[in-house]
Subunit: 192 residues, 2 copies
């Protein structure tokens, strides 16, 4: 291998250009607010138009990349930091990456936003009352939290901090899932 | 949002099917063995045939996802674990992902291999003598390591464990970069 070739710079990352579609769609809200439903539908709708869509699955990440983390405030913060970094790698690969995590702390979400090129981080706030989420309780977690079988459960024993200026706010208890997804898609188009 | 929709399972990850191209090309070797040169050329060659290629850049990862890690044995292990997990996410998104890190410890690389679907982890060992790498010293790191300005430098003050059964072994000091890249591409084809 010639020395000339040897000495070139580190691998060139694909440059983020304005004609690229890479975006982070960051869906935040309480457990039961509809994150999974909407991210699944959104993923399917976006795939109709592009094959560069990827949903970061919370369970998969917790079992894999973040398997060393628990649910203390510090670990939750680190959980979101790493997810943000991975999401940014997918944006660099020109993906629309859907992130649907409770992500309760505003400062942690804002850090991801600040690290992402302007206009490429779209925050979707699922503004659903705790009462409704608790009634839905799709995974039976609120029940366990009320019985104190789960510590630090967001909304019950740990705070949820809503976004200051999300790109989209969806009152998921008042609208159909399809309407909500359409609003997210309209927002992506607006920022394209 | 109807309760029926609300209760569906978590987002479906795209299934890894046999007709999918997703692969990890894991290039391992000493500093100066040619990892950056080969990964850059390989990335360019692969992009001639597909737009689903991504190179995980060591510096970018160290500044981002793994910015909390240093160079102790434990941190190096965690560095490789996380890189492996991110690479697997890209494989799930059907990417050929190029990983070019020293990754000195066999057990750490083998763990990534074991976590990856058989045939989708291709290990490329750059078998270049320490003496040659040290002569090249593209970043001046060997010099610093010899002067003990860098602790735990692989090959000098920290071990490098070669792979047991790599898919490709390249004696980069005896062949051109183009020949080496061609051999990697032939290996990818063989495993497709």
């Amino acid at each position: 291998m010639s020395q000339e070739i040897q000495n070139q710079d580190s691998p060139v990352q694909s440059e983020v250009k304005s004609d690229r579609q890479g975006r982070i769609i960051w869906i935040t809200g309480l457990s039961g607010s509809g994150k999974t439903t909407l991210s699944t539908l959104l993923d399917a709708r976006l795939r109709e138009g592009t094959d560069r869509v990827y949903t970061l699955d919370g369970d998969l990440i917790r079992q894999g990349l973040n398997s060393d983390l628990g649910f203390s405030d510090e670990d939750r913060k680190e959980n979101i930091r790493r997810i943000g970094e991975v999401a940014r790698l997918f944006v660099d690969a020109d993906f629309i990456v859907i992130v649907a995590f409770i992500s309760p702390f505003k400062a942690d979400r804002d850090k991801v936003r600040q690290a992402t090129e302007p206009g490429r981080f779209l925050e979707v706030y699922l503004d659903c009352p705790l009462k409704v989420c608790e009634q839905r309780d799709p995974k039976g977690l609120y029940k366990k939290a009320r019985l104190k079988k789960i510590e630090k459960f967001t909304g019950i024993s740990s705070p949820y901090e809503p976004p200051g200026s999300p790109e989209v706010t969806l009152r998921t208890h008042e609208r159909t899932a399809e309407e909500c997804v359409q609003e997210i898609i309209d927002c992506i188009k607006k920022h394209s």
